[in-house]
Subunit: 385 residues, 2 copies
């Protein structure tokens, strides 16, 4: 949308006057035969070109939730109607608490009740929960049907809709049941962010900030310099943040689709964050809030391991707070650290009982490292008391 | 196990005196990086060489059922113990009626309760239901862990354990929720067939017979010539039947892993068969029994379409009956044909409402063909009244 902004460059205010509904910016996820484009731009939902060239089928099914469907399902329905003889909608309850099997099964129920065949195209219209569940439903329905991500939250646009990770939660762990299953297209209509509540917008910023420490110090500088514009949802700043986030995610996922190595760095802050989410009960904190706080904890851990300075931890803490995110970890009961450790031991990055953490340095390099429990416990106590 | 038998060759009686526990015969499924061997032989479960070179992990988990676990889990456990620090067992209720989400979730519960990480190796010890559920659990647990098929029924050895189709049933359709997910190895220990009830053994023969009409008329001749030996579970005849079935399945799956074309021929008899299973309630007839009867129906359909002679239909019907399988279709209520058609319309091969059937000729060529409802209804009535 705006090719002139670059990491560390000047604020984008001068560009606000540009035609907001220009052609989509395209970031490509390069995965050989499974490559696909991420379209980023304003007004894409209503733009006919957005929906050209999708897989042909007799039925398209929009999966959304009770919050997002009233806002955007009609527009998407109208945009799909020229391409599919039948467009159906499945509306699920909203929230992380519903990212479970019974809710997923409502998608299967609807697909089977409507006799949807295995060419049926699913479209995930909503945030990360809808994207993860619709993607997993697409991965499993008749052993795989095509799907399109239409993320309507900042978090989903910059992170969860891109890269093919799909899952539901299990009572004993987040995202434990899922699949690597790539969409055929991702459509990020920036206009949909206008209706996003402030709390969810901030949660999305956590994943934007993440790309700085793990990959691109210049982007971290840019975020810091433009945080005011981002908080004000300045369209040019937001467009750049989404685009750069997707570029970084595309580069990482293109190298390591199934998280055998590099991809794990995208989980910076997530090991602590998942423990917070599970410990408080899914939905108490938003995923992005837990990740924001988790990044502060992971930066603190990196500092204890001698990888970053205390000043860097403070800088990241300030930035996280300024983005409207919590930076103090919740206390999970009297055995606080032990509870965190127990919750983190079922993290998918754990192997043979050892918890592995994404740690960073100040040059934008991330690494996965097993850390002794005692050190982790110190960090937990320092961050939560 | 026996390289001298060939399609249409002499009966294998003379070879019975051979050393029964010779080296495994190996059939390779060629899928590039996901290629894997099928080991076929007597005594493989207890043979240390069978278990060498599997993926390393801190934990191996044997998934079995209440019927098979008491017979073979201890032997498998002992064979795995030198390779894995921890070997766990998950024992599920037996039967197609349990091929559902709640039972699948018992595997996830056990894996998470035992803090199994994403290198954990699952081993499916049992028939098709255990193989399908364990494979799907492996596909989904933490987005994918390795698994080994250890089929203990004839049906699983010749068909369901090979080729990476995994699934559970949905109340509205069989195998509707699943994944294409390949095992790292298949171990067919022919000794385990000794404990198989006659009814299940016959059900397995249905899938053996299937390979004749769809691919190899000489194999059909061989089965006909050796049906007495097969029914007597003559070890050499059984070894050849398993091996030739796996060779044909490997050839088909190697061409078309995800059933975009050729692979569908393996479902000869299955479209009718699935309707029988669903119509009577899963578990009333065994899958192989429904397929046996379904093959007679599909052959009858092929005859109505002018592809095979009436004599061929009668020949296949005789062979199916001699294998101990039903050849008359059940009547599914007063609107019999309509009920069959409704059940078949949710078949995964259906597209845009048209039911597609695998039909054959007498030269071992199979094809997928959409057939008018009226013609199908005639076949249903002819086969079930």
């Amino acid at each position: 949308m705006d090719a002139t902004l670059s990491p560390g460059g000047a604020a984008g205010d001068a560009a606000v006057a540009r035609v907001p509904h220009g052609p989509a910016h395209v970031v490509t996820i390069d995965l050989g035969q499974r490559s696909y484009p991420i379209l980023i731009g304003a007004g894409l939902l209503r733009e006919p070109a957005t929906w050209a060239g999708l897989p042909r089928a007799s039925t398209a099914v929009i999966v959304s939730n009770t919050t997002v469907a009233p806002l955007y399902a009609a527009a998407l329905h109208a945009a799909l109607a020229p391409h599919y003889p039948r467009v159906l909608e499945v509306v699920l309850p909203d929230g992380e608490a519903h990212k479970d099997w019974p809710t997923l099964n409502r998608i299967f129920d609807a697909l089977l009740e409507q006799a949807c065949d295995r060419k049926t195209v699913l479209l995930a219209l909503g945030g990360g929960v809808i994207g993860d569940m619709t993607g997993f439903a697409a991965a499993c329905y008749m052993r795989g049907v095509p799907f399109v991500q239409v993320p309507t939250t900042l978090l989903a646009q910059v992170d969860s809709s891109v890269g093919g990770k799909t899952a539901i939660n299990h009572p004993l762990g987040k995202n434990m049941i899922g699949a690597f299953y790539q969409p055929v297209r991702v459509v990020c209509d920036l206009d949909t962010l206008a209706t996003l509540p402030a709390r969810e917008y901030s949660a999305g910023l956590a994943e934007v900030i993440k790309y700085g420490p793990i990959f691109d110090p210049a982007f971290l500088d840019w975020i810091e310099a433009h945080l005011g514009a981002l908080m004000a949802r300045d369209p040019v700043a937001v467009a750049y943040a989404v685009r750069r986030s997707c570029e970084i995610k595309a580069a990482v996922v293109g190298e390591d689709e199934r998280e055998s190595g590099l991809r794990a760095i995208l989980n910076f802050g997530h090991t602590f964050g998942h423990a917070i989410e599970a410990g408080l009960g899914y939905g108490a904190w938003l995923h992005g809030e837990a990740v924001g706080c988790g990044m502060v904890m992971a930066a603190t851990l990196s500092q204890r391991l001698g990888r970053v300075s205390q000043a860097y931890v403070e800088r990241l803490t300030r930035l996280t707070a300024a983005a409207g995110l919590p930076t103090r970890a919740p206390v999970l009961g009297p055995d606080n650290a032990a509870r965190y450790l127990a919750l983190m031991r079922v993290d998918k990055k754990a192997e043979g009982g050892a918890i592995r953490f994404v740690v960073v340095d100040e040059q934008g390099h991330a690494a996965l490292q097993a850390v002794p429990d005692a050190v982790v416990a110190e960090v937990i106590e320092a961050c939560s008391r």
